[in-house]
Structures are given as C-alpha cells and as structure tokens.
Amino acid sequence: MKKTKLGEFEELVLLTVAALQKDAYGVEIRRELEGLLKTTLSVGAIQSALKRMEDKGFLTSEFGEPTQVRGGKRKRIYSTTSYGHKVLSEMKEIRATLWSSVPTLAHELKVI
C-alpha cells in the first residue's frame, strides 16, 4: 500500500464528510463527530483537518447558501474526491483484513 498520509482523525473527518453528503460543512461535521466520539472538538481542529485534506486532494469544496444563523456568512460544503474515496476504502479493506485474523490470534494466545 502506498503512503496515503491520512491520519486517524483525518480519516474520521473524511468519513463524516462522505456520510453527511450535502450537509457536510464545518459545524455539522463537528456536531456529528462530537456525537459519535462523545467528546468536544474545536472549530480549529475540524477546520485544519479539512484544509489539510483539501490540500492533499481527498476533499473538494464549494460555497453553499448564506444563512442568518451564520451572521450572513456562506457555508462551505465539502465532498470527497474519488481519490479520497479510494483511500478510504483501501483503509477499510486493510482494517477488515487485519480484523479477520484478530480472533484466531487472540484465541491461540489464550490457549498458551
């Protein structure tokens, strides 16, 4: 596997973007992840992960509609690129492969 330079947190953010589809903008991604991870995340953490992945080519973005809640500022809607998708599924496969061998290993260890 070639080096994807995808960090753990970045992978989570990337997955969230992929899951949220049209709603994938800063605050929504954060709320989703906070819910799942049961922790608080800062805007800065989310934003820097997004920007970094955009630089790496996993994400693209475009401006959405401005809303009053945002003080008239437009949202930036993120979406995964096909390259991002590919990397995500590669990661998933790697994990799946590893997981599939975990129980046996654990069992054998116990026997010893």
Binding site: Y25, G26, V27, R30, S42, V43, G44, A45, Q47, S48, K51, R52, D55, F63, P66, T67, Q68, V69, R70, G71, G72, K73, R74, K75, R76
Partner: protein, 896 residues
C-alpha cells in the same frame, strides 16, 4: 430577536447575545483571507448554538477560547507569500545567491572585500589629509577679502615690469602698509606684523622662552577671525606693551587666575622691542591648526613702534609682514593695474627696482612662490601626488574586483544560462550583478570605516597633523563619499554585469563559451595596468628613499654631528660673559670646542649688502646672506678654508677690519679663482677692511637650495647661539655638566639646548612626511595588487586542476607545473616593468627637480623595482602553484 440581523443598533442588555468583537479581529488578522468567511460563519453558528445551552457569559468564553484554538499553522496567513511581497521575491533570490556566493568562495570574498576595503580606507585617509591641507585659512570669515603684499626686485627699473628677478619675499619693509592705505581707496584695513620673535616672559617664578610671538597690529582682530575670549578686540593690541595670550599660554603662566590686567615681565626682543612689562589685555582661543602661521601670544605692534620708531619710515628695513582687507566690491585686476603707477610714486630713486605684488589669502598656504613666510607652507605637488596615489590604490583594488568577477564568470555563466532560459531578461541580470557588486562594495565600506577608525590615531605620526573624523562628517563629504562608493560599485560590477548578461543561454549551457575564456584578454590588460602602477610606486619609493638618505648623508661642508646648540636669544649678559663661559665650558674634557655665533646652519640668518672690490678694481655692491660669527666659528665647525686664513686672536684688527666669505660670494664678485678675493677691500655695515679668507661652500640651508653667496663677519657680542662640539660618549652627563655651568653663569636664562643635526633636519620635515606617506601607501598598493594576483592564481590553478593531474601522471615534475602556472603572470609583470620604467622615471625626475642636490636616477633602481615586483608576484603565485603541483594526481583526477 434571537437570530436577528447581525448589524444594527442594540440595547445594552442584548450585547451578551453577541459574540465578543476582539477575537473576531484576531481571526481576521491571522487567518487566510480565503478561509475567513467560512470560519467566521462556523464560529458564529457555534456561538448561537452554545447560547441555547449555556449562559451568555460562558458562551462568550467558549467562543474566545475556540477562536484562540483556531491559530493553527495550516489556517494562518503565510506572510511571506502574501501578494504584496511577491514582487520582491526575485530580489530575495538575488540576495540569497549573492550571499551563497560570498560564503562558498571565502577566499575570493575576502580578497574582494578586504582589498577593496583597504583601498577605500586609503582613499578616505588621503582624502582627509588633502581636505585638511585645502582647509588652511578657510576659517577667516572675511578670508575672501584678505590679501597680502609680496615684495621683491624687478628684472628692470621700468615700473610696468612686473617680473620678479628673484623669488619675492613676504617679509619686507613697514612703510608699504600706510602707503597702500593712502593710495588705494579699496583697502579697508591694513594689518602689519613682525616676527616671529622669541622673548623670555616671566610671571612670578614662572619663566619661559616663548618662541613664535608676533608683534601684531591693533586691527588684527577686525581682519582675521581669531576669537578673543576675554578683552576688547578693538583696543587689545592698541597700547604699547599690551599682550594677548592664547588660552594655553595664559594657563601656563596664570593657571586658573584671570590673566586680564596682569603683568608679564618681558625680555627684549632684539631689533624689535625693548624689555618691559607687558599688560595682558586679552585671551584668545588657540589659533586653529589649519592656519598658515600660528603663535602663542601677540604683542602690540606699537611696542615695536615705540622701541624703534625710525624703522617704520625706512623703506630699506625688512622686518614686517603686510596683509590687508579690501572692501566688499573689489576688482583684483583693477588693483593690479594700478600697481605700476603706485610703484613709480613710492620708489625712492629712479633706478630702484623695488616691486610688489599681491596674493589672496586662499593662495598663501599652497600656491605661494614667495619666500620668508611667517609660518609653514604646504605643497601643492604633494597633494597631487597623494591624490594620485589614493586613486591608484582604489583603481588597483577595483581591478582586483573586476578580475576576480570576470575570472569567475564562467561559474556564474551556468547560473546566467538557467536564469535566462526560465525567463530572466538582460535588464534583470544586469540589476542582479550590479546589485551583487554593490553589496560587496558596501561590505568593503564597512571594512574601510573600521580600518580608518583604527588608522586615524596613527596618521598623526605619519602626517604630522591630527586628523579628526568629526571634521569630515559633514553632509557634503558624506554624500560625496556615498556617491563615490556607489560609483565604485557600479564601475567594478559593470564588466561582469554587461558581459555575463550578454551570454547566450544555449551556448553557456552547452559549455561552449568556456573556450573564449571569459574576458581573459581584458583581465591581462588590467593586471598589466595594476602592476605598472605598483612597479612605478616601488621605483618611486626607492628613489624617494635614496634622495632622503642623500639629504641626510651628504657632506654639508661642516660638522653637524655631536654638536650641541644652546639658544640664549641674543641675551646681552650672556654675550658679555661669552669669553668666560667659553673658558669655563672648555674645561670639561667631554667638550671639544665652543663657539659663539648669531646663526648656525639651518637657523635664521639676515641678509646684507656688501661692497667688495671686483677684479677690475671697481667697488661693487651686492647682497648676500650673512652669518655673524665669533672668533672660532670656522675651526669649530671644521669648515675648510679654500684660501687665506680665519679670524685669529693674533690679529686684533680682525674684530673690525676683516671679512671671511664663501666661494659662492667670491664668484659673485667675479673672481674665478676664489683665492684672488683675499686681500681685496670691503665695506659692510659701516665696517671697512680686507677680505682675509674664503671658506669652502657649505650648505647652511636645506639641500633643496643651492649654496648662495655668504659673508661671515666677525661679531663677538651679537650672538644668539653657543655651539659645543661634544664627545660621543656620556652625552647625558655632558649635557648635565653644561647645564650646571649655564645655571651658575646665566641663571636668568632658561637652559635651551638642541642638537644641530636634529635642527638642521627639521628643514626636511615635510620631505620626511612625504617619504613616510609615499612608502606606506606604495606598500599598501603593492599588497592589494598581490592580493588580486593571489586570487587570480588560485582561480587559474583551480581551473586547471585536471590538467595538472594529467600532466603529473604523464611525468611532469614540480618545476614544470609551477612554471606552467606562473609563466602567464610573470609575462604580464615583465610587460608592466617595461611600461612602468619610463613612467616613473619621468614623474620622479619631476619630483627631484625640487632639490638642488639630488641623487641620480640610476637604471638599476628600475631593475630593482622590477625584481621586487617580480619576486613578490612570483612568491604570491608560487604559493598557489606549488600547492596545486604537489597535490596527488589521483585526488585531483578522481574529483568531479
């Protein structure tokens, strides 16, 4: 209201519903512009959400904290990459490349920066010296309107003839002053003064002989801009026996007391002022160092007038300097046109050839041709010589710079090729290379300033004048300096800039230009030029050195070594006791002989008119220098008698009826054989008798001048000096013993002694200064030239590393390699020798014209100069060539 519009007026209580303002400003400052809208929006939305769950205060705290956490590298503005800086990016690159080049080639950078720095420093120092010489008498506010009179004898008696038969004198008669004032309405004030007088001043127990006092007209302070600190400028020098002291002199006598109104007891000043009590009427600031005459004190001219009133009406008596101030509208030519008419009015007899001319104050220090000056004069040719040397040094340093840059142009060629192929145009390349040379020149300037600051205190020993950096830190000199630095940078960088930028990128990158050797021929021309200058300077130094030794070693026709001279300034009491003192001093075994005289060689002497019988029997009156001497003068100084005898105690009539002359005087009266003048009648200063002897010509003044006719009449009681010939050993004890005798026999006079050879050589002070400066700067010039040569040799050796390796492999020995590397340079040095020889021969023979007695310019001097240059160059080159010749060919061939 909760999601109300963001802007608009709000009540006090609603303020908590809004996020705090300052974190937003922080965000706007830090975060990249393209992210700002999105992140601001996210923050705002988050804040609104938080408001629903948290207290407004807490929500605001969270907001602030979050805002701070946004400061992450990826979100921050990249200040270096903001559009405003883009246009400087290329310059940044230029600086980077320039810096890398400096660091990478430390030796070249050192030679460039240090050599150029040294060159600039020399220039600055020489400039300071020249500036100081040119600043003489500039401080007089009315300087442009001050003139002085020079007197002499015209070639004919026609008043319209304005040609001086001999060099004119500044020092002359007194009546010219009032006569000018009465005849020329354009003259506002006349200042006359007399000096320099040496008188003994006493205040309480403080007693000093003051050398260099002037009897000064009362108008002095209205004409010259000397600052009177105490006293009234109008009246300070009016009354007889008034004295104005400079600050230092005043402190010497009075310490912290107020000198005004105090009395100083003054001895008589022979021929000028009788002894008397002087009242201090003023204290003035020290006379600026850049004055053409200086003094410690001024006595009123009326003191002189009161003591000897008759000479102020006597046109034939020479003891006055006459300066005058003209009115605002002054036409110098009109003034000069009126001089012939004035002359015919004042000439006392129709055949008088008395002639005057005027000199503006600005010319008196450097441009005067007159003799008998009130003070030291400078030398314009010396200024030219030093300016030229300064320029030479700078040019040599600049050539180094140009040579090293062109030599290395091939290395930079690749860079130029790449820059050109990615779109650099010629203009930007020129900018780059000129900029680089400006950076180097700037660094050199810093080095130069450090050198100047270090060298400045030592310049006093070299030039005899204290130069201060402050007086040169005016905006004019600084702007000139910066301008010159800029021009140097452009000139030094111009060749590499123009040539390198003209390279064809394709050819360079292919490596084809290597064959046309990057300005090799220009480099050769420059090296020849450099070495021509250096060799000319070496030859000049040798000639100056020989001439100065010649001056010091030449047999002057009298003994000047081991001759102690005591100055008692014509003191009457000492003169009365002279016989007893001589007897007392000669008791000391260390003292070989003692003689009294009015003048000693190298000191002041008057002139007199003497009538002597010519070979045809006619009595001829002519003027000569006159040394009034005591009985033993001739034998004491070991002068040779060509004919006749010297004064003798066996001939009592010698005291009034005898005269000794020198060979030149005998010739002056028409005697081809000097012996023939012996026994002829003479008439001098009221004395009549016979010439009894002729002394061999001796140099009683500096060797700049030929020996003029001289008479040595016997005058026992009008002496000023005692000269003692002493043995070489125990000099200190002998001087102490002489002082003992002096204190017992002349307690009223301070014991002032000096050595005759020192006094005599003081006449060469400016020549020695010239020698020191010339030698110093020539050595520096050669040093800088060699630095450049070393750089070039190193470069060539580096270029040919491979070639040397292959030659060695094929069997070349050390000698072959060294010869190979040196041959080209040595050839250039030979060409330089050929060019430099006639050049320096011409210039130095011009310089030697200033000496009546000069060493010959032998051809071997040029051979020697050439050899010196050649060996220095060979040494410089051989260091590098041997270094590269001994390198193991394996290591030089392996490297790529």
């Amino acid at each position: 209201m909760e999601f109300g519009p963001y802007t608009g007026a709000r009540t006090e209580g609603d303020m908590s519903q809004d996020p705090p303002k300052w974190p937003l400003k922080l965000l706007r400052f830090w975060v990249k512009d393209e992210y700002r809208e999105e992140i601001e929006g996210d923050m705002e939305e988050t804040f609104r959400l938080n408001l629903k769950q948290l207290s407004p205060a807490k929500a605001r705290r969270v907001y602030t904290w979050e805002m701070i956490k946004i400061i992450r590298p990826i979100l921050l503005k990249n200040f270096k990459a903001t559009p405003t800086f883009y246009r400087y990016a290329m310059y940044k690159n230029y600086f980077k490349i320039a810096w890398r080049n400096l660091i990478k080639k430390t030796a070249y950078s050192f030679i460039n920066i240090f050599g150029l720095g040294l060159g600039i420093a020399c220039c600055v120092l020489i400039f300071m010296f020249v500036q100081d010489e040119l600043s003489y008498d500039n401080y007089h506010e009315k300087g442009a309107r001050i003139y002085r009179v020079i007197h002499g004898e015209a070639t004919t008696a026609d008043p319209k003839n304005g040609t001086f038969a001999y060099p004119p004198w500044v020092w002359n008669n007194a009546p010219i002053g009032p006569a000018l004032k009465n005849n020329f309405p354009e003259i506002e004030k006349v200042v006359q003064f007399s000096g320099r007088a040496d008188i003994l001043l006493t205040y309480g127990d403080k007693l000093y002989q003051e050398d260099g006092i002037f009897f000064m007209d009362s108008t002095a302070f209205e004409v010259f801009s000397w600052k009177l600190l105490k006293g009234d400028a109008k009246t300070a020098l009016a009354a007889p026996y008034s004295i104005v002291l400079t600050e230092t002199t005043a402190r010497k006598y009075f310490g912290d007391e107020d000198p005004l109104g105090k009395t100083l007891k003054g001895s008589d000043s022979p021929g000028r002022g009788n002894a008397g009590d002087y009242t201090v009427t003023g204290v003035m600031e020290e006379v600026p160092a850049n004055s053409h005459f200086r003094f410690n004190a001024l006595l009123s001219l009326n003191t002189f007038r009161k003591s000897r009133p008759e000479i102020f009406d006597y046109w034939g008596y020479v003891d006055t300097y006459t300066y005058f101030l003209v009115k605002e509208q002054f036409d110098e030519d009109a003034f000069k046109a009126k001089i012939p008419a004035f002359l015919s009015r004042i000439r006392e007899t129709p055949d008088s050839r008395y002639l005057i001319a005027i000199e503006p104050l600005k010319d008196v220090y450097l441009r005067t041709t007159a003799e008998r000056q009130p003070g030291e004069t400078g030398s314009l040719p010396n200024i030219y010589v030093f300016s030229v040397i300064g320029l030479f040094i700078l040019v040599i340093a600049m050539i180094n710079f140009m040579n090293l840059s062109t030599a290395r142009s091939m290395e930079r060629g690749k860079e130029v090729g790449i820059r050109k192929s990615i779109g650099a145009d010629r203009k930007s390349l020129i900018t780059q290379f000129l900029g680089e040379s400006l950076i180097i020149v700037f660094l050199s300037t810093v080095v130069a300033l450090i050198i100047v600051l270090i060298a400045l205190p030592n310049m006093t020993g070299l030039t005899g004048k204290a130069l201060h950096i402050e007086s040169f830190l005016t905006w004019q000199t600084l702007s000139v300096f910066l301008g010159v630095i800029f021009v140097i940078g452009l000139a030094a960088g111009s060749y590499p800039a123009l040539v390198l930028s003209g390279f064809h990128p394709v050819l360079i990158l292919k490596g084809i230009t290597r064959s046309n050797a990057g300005g090799a021929s220009l480099r050769k021309v420059l090296v020849v030029f450099q070495f021509t200058l250096s060799i000319a300077l070496i030859a000049g130094t040798i000639i100056v050195y020989y001439q100065m030794n010649h001056l010091l070693d030449k047999d002057l026709g009298f003994d000047k070594e081991q001759m102690l001279v005591l100055d008692y300034n014509y003191d009457g009491i000492v003169n009365q006791k002279s016989g007893a003192m001589k007897a007392e001093l000669e008791k000391n075994a260390s003292i070989l002989s003692v003689a009294f005289s009015r003048s000693v060689p190298g000191s002041y002497f008057p002139h007199a008119g003497t009538t002597i019988e010519a070979p045809d029997g006619e009595m001829k009156n002519m003027g000569q220098a006159i040394f009034q001497v005591g009985m033993d003068f001739v034998t004491h100084f070991n002068m040779k008698l060509v004919a006749g005898r010297t004064y003798s105690r066996e001939h009592p009539s010698d005291s009034t009826q005898a005269l000794i002359v020198n060979e030149a005087a005998a010739r002056q009266y028409g005697y081809k054989n000097p012996a023939d003048i012996v026994g002829k009648k003479f008439d001098q200063w009221g004395r009549k008798g016979e010439v009894i002897g002729v002394v061999k010509d001796f140099n009683y003044i500096s060797l700049h001048k030929t020996i003029e006719p001289l008479t040595l009449p016997f005058e026992a009681y009008a002496s000023r000096y005692v000269s003692l010939k002493i043995k070489t050993e125990n000099t200190v004890e002998t001087i102490a013993a002489v002082e003992e005798v002096w204190k017992s026999m002349a307690p009223h006079r301070p014991f002032l002694y000096s050595f005759l050879d020192d006094d005599f050589n003081k006449q060469y002070q400016s020549d020695f200064m010239f020698k020191r400066l010339f030698t110093t700067f020539s050595c520096l010039a050669i040093f800088i030239a060699c630095l450049g040569l070393l750089g070039l040799a190193t470069y060539t050796a580096e270029q040919r590393t491979k070639e040397i390796g292959i030659r060695k492999v094929l069997g070349a020995d050390l000698g072959n390699i060294v010869g190979l590397l040196s041959r080209d340079f040595i050839k250039l040095v030979f060409i330089s020798i050929v060019i430099a020889t006639p050049l320096s021969w011409y210039v130095m023979s011009q310089w030697l014209e200033g000496f009546a007695y000069r060493t010959e310019i032998h051809f071997w001097i040029f051979i020697l100069a050439g050899c010196i240059a050649l060996s220095i160059a060979a040494l410089t080159i051989s260091y590098q060539s041997i270094k590269s010749a001994v390198v193991n060919p394996v290591s030089s061939l392996r490297s790529e």
